[in-house]
């Protein structure tokens, strides 16, 4: 594995770790999700250089567009949670937990 690959993978994994080990706030989980998206964006951008292929040049733009949608959806969920549960603490979201 090349150092670039390793660093991008580790950046993605750090963001995933933040998502998995979220402690209190839903907002921090969403931020980690953005970090994962950022790592993927960097990876897609560098791919066309690493693989010497120009076909996948537009991929980062698509990625960015979809992640913007995803982020806005996440933020809307955050606002709705704050409206219904009064807080964005993760302990409040235990309706389906047995």
């Amino acid at each position: 594995m090349t150092p670039t690959h390793f660093s991008i993978s580790s950046a993605f994994l750090l963001g995933l770790m933040g998502l998995a080990f979220h402690r209190t706030h839903l907002l921090s989980a969403l931020l980690c999700l953005e970090a994962m998206m950022l790592a993927l964006f960097i990876a897609l951008s560098l791919w066309s250089l690493q693989l010497d292929a120009t076909g996948c040049s537009t991929a980062p733009m698509l990625m960015l567009a979809f992640s913007a949608c995803e982020a806005s959806a996440g933020l809307a969920l955050l606002v709705a949670t704050a409206r219904t549960h009064g807080t964005d603490h993760m302990q409040a979201l235990n309706l389906l937990q047995c």
Partner: protein, 612 residues
């Protein structure tokens, strides 16, 4: 058209017109006058009888038979049905006899049903029945015969259930329809087989085209039809139950005309049966069993009409035996003579019943020999004719049958049963005469015994003349198709007379025992067997409906509702996937953190391994 055929056809047409006119009058909305029954219906039958004497005399003088085919009813590629009438030896002789008997019965019914407010409707039903019977008898193709067959069945139902407020009458009418229906299955089977294999329902065509075919199946169907309609053993309980109807109905339908329709069918189809030994043996054994069984049942009955009904059933068995001997003409002869004396026996019973204020139990009659001499004389004459007293009406047919039975290669068991049944005939006839006419009266003193009404006397007189001379007249004027065996040992020749006399002596002995206590503890089992009609109605009428209802319940509620609609049908999917879905959702605990952590661990592991 040949003048004889013209005469036959126009007489039949005139007869139908004369008989249908009173019926059509009732369909208009004009109210009928009070004596419509006597003035219109009875007169119509009398005129029809006189008209029917014309073809009879023409037939007796020329011996010419005719078949008339008129209007084409339907034409298909394979089957033609036309309206066709057959004027042969059987129909030309039977129609005047049927009309004579019906005339007498209708005249009697004007007295018997006098107090019934619906008397006109009763006569309408009787006329409709008569028209259906004439259609049956004169039919040349099986479709027309079937029309008459069904017509007499339906009119029998309506007439048996005449007093429909009585539950027993409704049950009896239902029994008649159901048992006849089972017989109809046989007739339709025969018709279907003939339509598909012989391609015709015309009698002449069937006879010619079926020479080389194996006719066992349609003949079994026709024998089943005769079993149902003529109350042979197996489908017999409806005939004694049919005595719930008024006495004129019993006299007309269930002694002279309707019940002989089955035998008449077999007589018409006898050329098909000549060469089929299976069918002949079946007829023989079935008839012998019927005649023996019903004669046994008649020995201990106490209702006068039931005794006469069982007597009818026994004579029908005898006719079936004759067909089994391949002697259809003797069976026909017995039909004709039987009509006279059996109708007379029923009319005498009706007169006795009305005279004793609707008492039908013979244990409560007696001494009518002095109180109603004419009726008891006719009863005696009828019983003597029934037992085959020499040279009365019954003798010519019954003795000829017994002689034919004795001199042919026949099943010995059938022969024994028939001879025993003949002796039983004498026994129960004597029982009737002993209890009704002899001895001292056992009824209430104020009984309206009245024989002065000519509406009673004239029919009895006419039928008495018929019972005495009928056999002689018919026998003198017909030609027998098959040569009878004329030489036989003396014992065989006198066999019928001997067993009847034996029965008579036994019955006289038994009659004198009624006033003594012969045995202190009598043997009751044979008596119970005989009085309960062989337990056949008690068993069959309960078992068969119970099994049908159980089967219906199993099919409807268990098979359809529970199985097809719930377990294996629409609810099957729901029943199968619901446990799966609940198990799956029970397995998922919703521990998101744990799942994501594990995912992370795996990815870290992969990255580290691939980095080295």
């Amino acid at each position: 058209m040949h003048p004889t055929t013209l005469m036959y056809t126009s007489s039949l047409l005139l007869m139908f017109a004369v008989l249908l006119y009173p019926l059509l009058v009732t369909f208009t909305s004009l109210p009928l006058n009070n004596d419509w029954a006597a003035s219109h219906a009875k007169t119509a039958v009398k005129s029809a009888f006189l008209i029917s004497l014309a073809p009879l005399s023409l037939f007796l003088s020329t011996g010419m038979e005719a078949v008339t085919s008129s209007w084409t009813w339907m034409v298909t590629t394979t089957l033609d049905i036309t309206l066709s009438f057959k004027f042969d030896h059987y129909s030309i002789i039977f129609i005047p006899i049927a009309l004579y008997v019906t005339w007498s019965i209708l005249e009697f019914a004007t007295w018997y049903m006098h107090s019934d407010p619906l008397m006109n409707r009763f006569f309408k039903y009787l006329l409709t029945f008569l028209v259906a019977m004439l259609i049956l008898v004169s039919a040349n193709n099986l479709f027309q015969l079937f029309i008459g067959w069904e017509g007499v069945g339906i009119m029998s139902f309506l007439l048996i259930g005449w007093w429909h407020g009585r539950a027993d009458a409704n049950t009896a009418a239902l029994q008649a329809v159901l048992y006849n229906r089972v017989g109809d299955i046989g007739l339709i089977l025969g018709m279907a087989w003939l339509a598909t294999n012989v391609n015709s329902w015309d009698i002449q065509q069937m006879f010619i085209l079926s020479k080389d075919l194996d006719m066992t199946l349609p003949l079994l169907g026709l024998i089943l039809a005769a079993t149902g309609k003529s109350a042979q053993f197996g489908l017999h309980p409806w005939l004694p139950a049919a005595m719930e109807g008024p006495t004129p109905v019993s006299a007309l339908l269930h002694s002279s005309t309707m019940v002989v329709a089955g035998i008449f069918l077999l007589i018409r189809m006898s050329p098909l049966m000549e060469n089929n030994q299976t069918a002949l043996t079946l007829c023989l054994c079935l008839g012998a069993l019927t005649t023996m069984f019903t004669a046994t049942c008649a020995l201990t009955q106490n209702d006068i009409k039931k005794i006469v009904a069982f007597s009818t059933s026994s004579q029908l068995g005898l006719m079936m035996v004759t067909i089994g001997l391949n002697q259809p003409q003797l069976a026909f002869l017995h039909i004709c003579t039987h009509a006279f004396f059996k109708a007379m026996l029923f009319l005498c019973s009706g007169s006795v019943i009305h005279s004793l204020n609707d008492e039908q139990d013979i244990r409560k009659m007696g001494g009518l020999h002095h109180l109603a001499p004419f009726t008891s004389s006719c009863l005696t004459v009828g019983s003597l004719a029934l037992t085959g007293t020499p040279f009365l009406a019954g003798f010519f047919s019954k003795d000829a049958i017994i002689e034919a039975l004795n001199t042919s290669h026949v099943n010995a068991w059938a022969l024994t049963l028939t001879l025993i049944a003949t002796s039983f005939t004498a026994i129960y006839s004597l029982r009737v005469i002993f209890f009704v006419t002899m001895g001292t009266p056992r009824f209430l003193p104020l009984s309206p015994i009245n024989e002065n009404n000519s509406a009673v006397i004239n029919p009895l007189k006419r039928l008495a003349w018929g019972s005495i001379f009928g056999g002689l007249l018919v026998m003198l004027n017909i030609n027998l198709f098959k040569t009878p065996v004329l030489t036989m040992p003396t014992e065989l020749k006198l066999a019928a007379l001997a067993v009847s006399v034996l029965g008579l002596l036994t019955a006289l002995e038994l009659a004198t025992l009624t006033s003594k206590q012969f045995k202190v503890t009598p043997l009751r089992t044979p008596h119970h067997f005989s009085t309960s009609l062989g337990f056949v109605p008690a068993i069959i009428h309960r078992q068969v409906p119970q099994l049908s209802l159980l089967l219906g319940q199993k099919i409807a509620s268990q098979m359809v509702d529970q199985t097809w609609l719930e377990k294996t049908g629409p609810k099957a999917i729901a029943n199968a996937t619901t446990p799966l879905a609940s198990a799956t959702s029970n397995m998922q605990q919703g521990l998101i953190k744990t799942y994501l952590t594990l995912f992370l661990m795996t990815l870290v592991l992969v990255t580290l391994i691939s980095a080295t």
